[in-house]
């Protein structure tokens, strides 16, 4: 669709598992196994899934922090995966990332001001005295005092560090930000502050987000669109309200049912999904969810399902609930 800021097509990433004396690849971890989506300008698409779903790897592939095995990523018309060094560097100013772990995502040996100043100088966004001024602006934008610039990461709490991470991403004035589980490591009350901040920034600066999370309640609050991932594939994607109101794929339903609801009256009427989250080294044949699926049919283990449109921008990959019409 034109007007989409980010278009991802058939993205694949297989990590080789090396073994034997010569380190040959004996198996591969199929972390991302054919993922396609697009994000319109100003929207927030959330990638939801459990461990092994490939959502974090997808985020890193989009930014080309990891080289993909196959596929296409197009940002505002520019091919990201085949860009040369110069184009990539220019792209890096427009696409940024916020990380999950507030404790590992900041260099412990640099002050906040040092870190932001370096970014501003390397990208020639400010020089000399302007650096300090812009640093103060950025800190103010994320709700931190100017004095924070002289301090080291370990002097801040998790929530404050996450704000620093957001300031860092904003320093290059990007249009698109990938938020990789930005609030998962934070307390509920801090989580609320950071989510509000992200939404405010989106409005003020016209940002587009790719939000990666496993927490459905958080996703509900921040997203305009949601894509559910399982074992490296997208099994369902829809506008946020639709997905939560009328999920189609059995995995989405199980995920929604499994999330604990803070309401004592709502308990003990849930379907608990059996079995373990599978490993992406040896994914099941056909539909990757079929071994745990309550609605499984014989054909589910035969062929892989493709995303089928069920109306209103809602697509699901399920032979049973969203069969392909021939």
């Amino acid at each position: 669709m034109s007007g989409d800021l980010l278009v991802v097509r058939d993205l694949v990433k297989h990590f080789p598992v090396r073994g034997g004396v010569f380190g040959r690849a004996v198996a591969s971890v199929r972390a991302v196994d054919g993922v396609s989506f697009s994000i319109p300008r100003g929207a927030t698409l959330s990638l939801v899934g459990e461990s092994g779903s490939g959502k974090t790897t997808t985020g890193r592939l989009v930014l080309r922090l990891v080289e993909p095995t196959a596929g296409e990523v197009s940002f505002d018309g520019t091919d990201v995966l085949r860009a040369d060094k110069g184009t990539l560097r220019a792209l890096r100013k427009r696409m940024q990332i916020i990380f999950q772990d507030p404790y590992a995502s900041l260099n412990p040996r640099m002050t906040i001001g040092g870190m932001l100043g370096e970014i501003l100088r390397v990208h020639r966004l400010a020089r000399g005295a302007a650096v300090a001024a812009r640093t103060a602006e950025l800190l103010d934008l994320v709700g931190l005092p100017g004095a924070a610039a002289d301090r080291y990461p370990h002097e801040f709490s998790g929530g404050q560090r996450q704000r620093v991470g957001i300031a860092r991403a904003l320093a290059v004035e990007p249009e698109f930000i990938i938020a990789d589980e930005p609030v998962s490591a934070l307390d509920v009350s801090i989580q609320a502050q950071i989510l509000n901040l992200l939404k405010d920034l989106q409005e003020r600066l016209g940002l587009t987000y790719l939000f990666i999370s496993h927490d459905l309640a958080v996703v509900r609050h921040i997203s305009t669109h949601v894509a559910v991932m399982y074992l490296g594939r997208i099994v369902e994607t829809a506008p946020a309200a639709d997905l939560f109101a009328a999920p189609v794929h059995p995995y989405t339903k199980a995920l929604l049912a499994a999330a604990p609801v803070p309401d004592p009256a709502a308990r003990r009427d849930r379907v608990v999904l059996a079995g373990d989250v599978p490993s992406p080294i040896n994914p099941p044949s056909g539909c990757p969810f079929h071994p745990r699926c309550p609605d499984v049919r014989p054909e589910c283990s035969q062929t892989a399902q493709r995303l089928v449109d069920t109306g209103g921008g809602h697509r699901a990959a399920c032979a049973v609930h969203a069969p392909e019409r021939h």
Binding site: R92, Q100, S105, P108, R109, H123, R168
Partner: protein, 339 residues
Amino acid sequence: MTDREQQERSAGYWRLVWRQYRRNRPALLGAALVLFFGVLSLAAPFLANDTPVWLVKGGKTYPLPNLITYADLQAENLYNNFDRWRPGPGEYALWPPVPHGPLRQDLRARLSAPGPRHWFGTDDRGRDVLSRIIWGGRISMSVGFISVGIAVLVGVILGALAGYYGGWVDAAVLRLIEIWMCVPSFFLIITVMALLDPGIMNIMVVIGLTSWPEVARLVRGEFLKQKEMDYAAAARALGLGDGRVIFRHLLPNAVSPVFVAATFGVAGAILTESGLSFLGFGVPPPTASWGEILKQSQSYVDFAWWLVLFPGIAIFLTVVAFNLVGDGLRDAMDPRLRQ
């Protein structure tokens, strides 16, 4: 942040390390000893010399004749004979605490036991042992620091590149390290020294070049760990170049174990240098070196105990001091031990 936190001064990494280090008594003792030996070595020309530190003679003032060669004093052949010169009226000489130079021979006082004139006794050429120990300390300290400096420089660069790039760079460096470590270093050093001219520069370079593999392995290991951290990915995502990421971001976080290894390395280098001098492959005579004194002592060991004891104690104390500092640093840098 509360107001109180804002008022406290920002605590960088080294300040935290020092706070933790301060608690460790043995480590503080080690640091004090290292400082002591360091000052001793630096101040050797002022501590043990046969030339006075300040001279007023014949109406003229000569500052620091121990460092500066004055033409007229040289003409009077005083520089080798200051001990025979007595100040006349109006003349004055300020002597260092040990008024003997390390090379000054006094054959009448050969092999004398420690006494009021020679506090640590004399060797077989009548040279004052205390003076030779003080000046020998210079040799030991400079060999220690410079050889470790060379090892760290080479090791850090190779280790960083191997750890960051992986692939064939890593394979090549690893093979180099493995080859280097196959050969027992001390024998390698002796062999090389036997082929080269003896001299302190050669010793330092040779010891340095045989110790870099350990540093490289440490740095490589730390780099493998650090490059997976989110802040490294963030640096790359921000478009920072490889060089900047390696040297400005990853390296400061990867060098902590290098400091510890370096302190132990200095201790090892001092021991190696003493060993080399003892075997005759070290600094050539007559330069004073602790190992060299020990070498001499072999012929007189049955009665000249001062030739064995004092250099032995000097080596022992220095090595122990550096080991204590190394242990203290390692504990102080360990984030888990922080309270």
